[in-house]
């Protein structure tokens, strides 16, 4: 893995980091923060779904666990926000490892895996909506206490830089995994589990590791949600919306690519905002558009927007070499 492989990450993160220096509008920054939040959740999904080929429909289980752990540790046990945030990520990773340990050894994959992850998220949602520790139906409010010590930022720009640093870390992790032996195993498992096993790869262990890391990233998004909005309840934490959006961002952006979730999240959020601008605040319309885009992407660009970019690059490269364009 050469240092050059990290150049695109550095350029993109550097460019994004400059945005608050130019744009001062709270509305725009808020939009970007929510898009980056979704990016982080999507990066988690992409690690397991994109590279590993295990399509989860229940990443809300990790998002929600991270969010609740952060909120509960602060409000009920008086823990400082920084360790609470860290424990939140660990709790999400733990839930990921537990679900993985239950499902992968029994050979659940494809639609069955999607179904069982969905069921786990639903069980957690129902439990969270009745258990006293999660505030049952009322939810949890985190006390407003702006300042770096409580991980609450008074300016939107600071929040933006914080979530951007998390996204940047996830981008680096993704890049490292792509170039590592583990990444090659993961892709091998996606492309053919039996073949990978025949070559000495342990598919269950590879998938389990990927799921734990994937859950940790999505849980981090949940932790940030709590620190940013200072509120969490069962429909937000474990509701199907985050499972669907995390999946959408990766698929639309380009499944199994480093920048896919970022591209996808920006597109999905832009689309949602555009829909709201056109029709006013009509419930359902943004999600309806997401659904249409999802089908169109699966139909026309199975490798997502990043895939289109690659195809264009390949086309130009061929053109410049004068190799002709007989290939379809």
């Amino acid at each position: 893995m050469t240092r050059r492989a990290f150049l695109p990450v550095l350029v993109v993160v550097g460019a994004l980091a400059c945005v608050p220096l130019v744009v001062h509008s709270d509305v725009v920054l808020n939009f970007l923060v929510t898009a980056l939040l979704l990016t982080l959740a999507g990066q988690g999904w992409n690690l397991l779904g994109g590279y590993g080929g295990q399509y989860s429909f229940g990443h809300a289980a990790f998002f929600g666990t991270g969010a609740y752990a952060t909120a509960i540790l602060q409000t009920r046990y008086g823990l400082n926000a920084w360790p609470a945030f860290t424990f939140g990520i660990a709790a999400g990773a733990g839930v990921g490892a537990a679900i993985g340990a239950l499902t992968f050894p029994s050979g659940l994959r494809g639609s069955y895996f999607a179904l069982v992850t969905l069921a786990f998220a639903e069980v957690l949602r129902i439990l969270a909506s009745v258990a006293p520790v999660t505030g049952a139906g009322v939810g949890i409010l985190v006390k407003l206490d702006p300042g770096i010590h409580a991980l609450q930022f008074s300016s939107r720009a600071a929040s933006y830089w914080f979530i951007l640093s998390l996204v940047a870390a996830a981008l680096v992790v993704n890049r490292l995994i792509e170039g590592s032996r583990f990444g090659a195993w993961l892709v091998a498992v996606r492309e053919g589990e039996a073949a990978a096993q025949a070559l000495g790869v342990d598919p269950t262990r590879v998938k389990l590791t990927a799921m734990t890391a994937s859950a940790a990233l999505t849980a981090a998004a949940g932790c940030f949600y709590v620190q940013y909005f200072l509120f969490i309840d069962a429909p937000i934490a474990y509701g199907p919306w985050i499972s669907v959006e995390a999946l959408l961002a990766s698929i639309i952006g380009g499944v199994g690519t480093v920048f896919g979730p970022l591209l996808g999240a920006l597109m999905v959020k832009t689309l949602g905002e555009a829909a709201k601008l056109v029709t006013g605040d009509a419930p359902g319309l943004d999600l309806m558009l997401y659904g249409i885009v999802l089908i169109v992407v699966v139909w026309i660009a199975p490798r997502g927007v990043a895939g289109i970019g690659e195809r264009c690059r390949a086309w130009f490269a061929r053109g410049s070499l004068g190799a002709g364009d007989t290939a379809a």
């Binding site: 399509y55 659940l108 999607a114 639903e122 069980v123 669907v244 419930p283 999802l294 089908i295």
Partner: protein, 289 residues
């Protein structure tokens, strides 16, 4: 004392379970033939419930009469969805089918939310609360009709699959797609036909459900995992399995609800679902796929 509480719960659970079975028939049929999990199944149920609701509200059409109209209509909708959307878009890839049906579910649910808002609606029929006495209990008439409906639909589906040429073709495609194609069966047509049948089952379920139930854009979600549980329990692709699975799921929900409280009743279902998937993915009755 114990028994006097338990018995009504058991009867109620079985009556509910019949409707779960009815919803699960479509899912299991589609899985058995196309080998796909249709994530849009629950939202198609929501759409059918809305259709039944508006037929009653605007035209005064009784849901049991609307059944005769909605069943063929939803058959056509299902046929068209598979033939013109799911089939061509997914190009036969499993993960694509998963995503396309998920996309359809998101579109239908939020389209309904956009059109009708989140309000919960009910129909007031003269027989909504009619009861008949049975073994010291009062049994709701619409629920009893629903039970009978589920049994009749199961019987009709079984007859269709075993006695008719179309049924034979469906079974042939389910068993060996390529072989069926080689013997002149139009696989794309059979796929769409099966999907249409599955969607028609949902319309029947909606018409039987609406007299005692409510409708809002999210109502189908509650049934999605229940229907999946039913199908997994009964063995993917088995009509009889779905019937027995449905009754069992209804029973478990009702008894769990009795002991754990209404909102936790569903936990019993999901736990059962996860356990069955982990321990015996081929279902309690199903043969290994």
């Amino acid at each position: 004392m114990q028994l006097s509480i338990l018995f009504p719960a058991v009867v109620n659970g079985i009556l509910n379970g019949a409707l779960y079975a009815l919803i699960a028939f479509g899912l299991t049929l589609v899985y058995g033939v196309l080998h796909i999990i249709n994530f849009a199944h629950g939202t198609l149920l929501t759409a059918a419930l809305f259709a039944a609701f508006f037929l009653y509200r605007s035209l005064g059409l009784d849901p049991y009469v609307a059944l005769l109209l909605l069943t063929p209509a939803f058959f056509l909708i299902g046929y068209a969805l598979q033939r013109f959307v799911i089939g061509p878009v997914s190009r036969g890839s499993d993960s694509n089918i998963l995503l396309v049906t998920l996309g359809l579910a998101v579109i239908i649910e939020n389209g309904l939310l956009f059109a009708f808002r989140g309000d919960t609606r009910t129909v007031d029929l003269p027989y909504s609360f009619a009861v008949v006495p049975f073994a010291g209990l009062f049994i709701s008439v619409p629920r009893l009709v629903g039970f009978a409906g589920a049994v009749v639909v199961a019987l009709l589906l079984w007859l269709l699959l075993t006695l008719t040429d179309t049924g034979k073709a469906i079974r042939a495609v389910a068993k060996e797609k390529l072989g069926a194609q080689l013997s002149g069966i139009d696989v794309a047509h059979i796929y769409a036909l099966t999907f249409g049948l599955g969607t028609a089952c949902v319309a029947v379920a909606a018409c039987l459900l609406i007299p005692t139930y409510y409708v809002n854009p999210h109502v189908g979600n509650a049934f999605v995992l229940i229907a999946f549980t039913t199908v997994v329990l009964g063995g993917m692709g088995s009509i009889l399995g779905a019937l027995i699975g449905g009754l069992f799921v209804g029973l478990v929900e009702s008894v769990c609800g009795l002991y754990l409280g209404e909102s936790l009743g569903q936990i019993g279902i999901f736990t059962m679902f996860i356990l069955v998937l982990l321990l015996r993915p081929s279902g309690l009755l199903g043969a290994r796929a």
